[in-house]
Amino acid sequence: MSDDPSATKDAFTASGTGREALFFARRNRKLVGGGVVVLVFLLVALTGPWFTTDDPLAYVGPPGAGPSGEFWFGTTTFGQDVLAQFVHGLRATFFVGTVAALIAGVLGMVVGFTAGYRGGLVDEVLTMITNVVLVLPVLAVLMIIAAYLEVRNIEVQALIIGLFSWPWVARAVRAQTLSLRAREFVDLARLSGAPVRRIVFREIAPNMASYLFMVFILLFGGSVLFAATLDFIGLGPTDGVSLGLMLNHAKQWSAMDLGMWWWFVPPGLGITSVVGALYIMNVGLDEVFNPKLRET
C-alpha cells in the first residue's frame, strides 16, 4: 500500500524484460568491452589452427628463435612454433572451460532445483552430498585422480573439473529456488494443473535466467584457471597442448632464465585476458540485470 510512484514500473511500457535487458546490455561498456575481448580470442581459437601447422608440437624451425616474420611468436628451445601452440592451446582452453562449465552448471542446477523444490528428506540428502563435495580438498583429490589415470586428455580434464565445481552452483540455485517456490505464482501454476517439471523449468528457472547466465560465465572462467593450474603443476593432459601446458614447458626448459619471453608471455597473457574479460563481463551483467546498479 505504499505509494511508490509508478515511475520505474512502466519505464519500458512497450518492451519486455528481455528487450529491456538487451537495451542496457548494449549500453554497458564493461559488458561490451569484455565481450569483444572474449570474442576476439574465441575467433583466434576457432580459426587460428587453420592457418598454422596441424601439429603444434612438430619441430619446424630454428631452436629458440625470437619473433620474426616467419614465426610471429618465435619458437621454443626445440624449434616448435609458439604461435601454433598458442592458437591450439587457446582452442583447448575454450573447450575445457565450456565443457566443464556445462557439466558443473547442469549438475548444479539439477541438484539445486530438486533440493529446493522438493524439500524435506530429498533436500537434506542432496544438501549433505553437496556439502561433502564442497569441503573436499579438490586439488588434492584431483592430483590423486590425475596421477592414477594412464591417459589424460583434455576431455577427461574437463570432465573432472566439471564434476568438482558444481556444489556452489547447487547451493546458490537451491537457495533461490527455495525463495521462488514460496511465491504465489508457483501456487497458481499448481492450481493450473502444471506438473512439477514444468513448474521448475517454466516458472522458476526463467526468473533466475540472468543469474544462471552469470553462473555459467563464472564457471567458465574458474574452469579455465583451474585447468591452467593443473597443467602448470604437471597434472594436465599427457598429450595435446594447452595454454597451461605451454607455461609448464616454458618453466621446465627455463625459458625465463634464458630470456625467451615469447614462450611464456603469450599463454600467460591469453589466460589472464580471457578470464579477466569474463569477470569484467560478469560485473557488467550484474549491472544489466540489477536495475539498482544501472548507471542512468
Partner: protein, 315 residues
C-alpha cells in the same frame, strides 16, 4: 508549527520527471495531529519523506518547508542531518527493517543517542517513562529486535523516534502491517505522544480514513500529487466537499453493511500518469460532477475557516 509552501518534489526516471508532489501548501498547528490520506501514487509517502529525507531519485524542485520559523534545508541531505531526530523524526512503515538485527535494542539506542552528542544516562529515565507510556516492558531493551512482535517493534520505534522530543513526527503507514487489535494499541500510543506534549505536531500518513478518524484532529486528502481537501476530521467525514473525498468515504465498507442491503460503489478508472500530469483538475476523468471549468486546475482555497478544497464545484 509547520508551514509547507508550494512544495514540489519530482522523481527522476529515464522517461522524464514524475511530478510526485506538484505544488503542495499547508500548515500543521502545534498540538495538531494531521491525518494524510490518499491512495497509491497520490504522493502521500513522497510528502512524508520530503519532510525528513529525500531518497536518491527524489529531487527538490521548489517550495519551502518552515518548522517553527526555521526553514528546513530539505534538498540538502548533509545540512538536513542536524534536524533529523532532533527536530523532525519519522516512524517508518517497516519499522522492523529499521532496526539492526544483531544489536540489542538498548545498545542500539545508546549508540544512536551518543552519535547525536547526547549522553545516554541523561535520557535513560525518560526512555523508561516512554516505554511505560506505550505499554512496553523495560526489559525489551535487553532483547534483540527479532524477539519482538510486529506491534512491539512498531511501538519501540515510536519511542526511539520521539526520544528527543521532536517538533514534528511523521508516522508513515505505521499500523498497516499490524493486526486489528494491535493496530488500535499502536494508534492510541501514537496519539498519547501528542497528548503528553512530547511532540509538537504530527503527520499520520495512511490509506485508511477510518483509522485517522480515530486519532487525527484534521485530515488532508491528497490525489495525484496535489492537495484535494483539508478540514477538521469531523467535517471531512460528515461534510466532505471534494468529489474524490466523498467517493473515497462512500467506498468504505463498514461493519454492519452488507452488499445485499447497501451496495457500495468504487471509483471507476485510475489516477493519471504524473509524467507529466494532464492539465486541469486531475480528478476530472473519474469525477461524476466534472464540467467545462475543470479543464483549468482549481486552486486549493479556504471555503470556510479551517476547511480548504480544490474543486470548482465547491468554491
Amino acid at each position: 508549527m509547520l508551514h509547507v509552501d508550494d512544495l514540489r518534489v519530482h522523481y527522476r526516471t529515464l522517461r522524464g520527471d514524475v511530478r510526485a508532489l506538484d505544488g503542495v501548501s499547508f500548515s500543521v498547528a502545534d498540538r495538531e495531529i494531521m491525518g494524510l490520506v490518499g491512495e497509491s501514487g497520490s504522493g502521500k509517502t513522497t510528502l512524508g519523506k520530503s519532510l525528513i529525507r529525500l531518497d536518491g531519485r527524489m529531487r527538490h524542485v521548489g517550495g519551502t518547508v518552515t518548522l517553527d520559523g526555521t526553514e528546513l534545508p530539505i534538498g540538502d541531505d548533509g545540512r538536513m542531518n542536524a534536524f533529523r531526530f532532533n527536530d523532525v523524526s519519522i516512524v517508518p512503515q517497516y519499522a522492523m527493517s529499521a532496526m539492526n538485527p544483531t544489536r540489542r535494542i538498548g545498545t542500539m539506542i545508546r549508540e544512536l543517542v551518543t552519535s547525536r552528542g547526547i549522553r545516554f544516562d541523561t535520557v535513560r529515565s525518560e526512555l523508561d517513562r516512554r516505554l511505560d507510556l506505550v505499554g512496553l516492558d523495560r526489559e525489551v531493551l535487553d532483547r534483540y529486535p527479532i524477539e519482538l512482535s510486529g506491534g512491539m517493534k512498531q511501538r519501540m520505534v515510536m519511542v526511539i523516534s520521539t526520544l528527543l522530543n521532536p517538533k514534528l513526527l511523521v508516522a508513515d503507514e505505521v499500523t498497516s502491517a499490524l493486526d486489528v487489535s494491535t493496530q488500535r494499541a499502536v494508534a492510541l500510543a501514537l496519539a498519547g505522544f501528542r497528548d503528553r506534549d512530547l511532540v509538537h505536531a504530527m503527520i499520520v500518513i495512511t490509506h485508511d480514513v477510518s483509522l485517522v478518524y480515530q486519532i487525527a484532529d484534521t485530515i488532508l486528502v491528497m490525489y495525484a500529487g496535489k492537495l484535494a481537501e483539508k478540514a477538521p476530521t469531523d467535517v471531512i467525514v460528515e461534510r466532505p466537499l471534494h468529489p474524490y473525498t466523498r467517493a473515497l468515504i462512500a467506498a468504505l465498507p463498514e461493519v454492519g453493511v452488507q452488499y445485499a442491503g447497501k451496495r457500495l460503489t468504487g471509483i471507476p478508472g485510475g489516477p493519471p500518469s504524473l509524467r507529466p500530469p494532464p492539465p486541469g483538475c486531475r480528478f476530472r476523468d473519474r469525477c461524476p460532477v466534472a464540467f467545462d471549468r475543470c479543464a483549468e486546475q482549481p486552486p486549493f482555497v479556504e471555503v470556510e475557516p479551517g476547511h480548504s478544497v480544490a474543486c470548482w464545484r465547491a468554491s
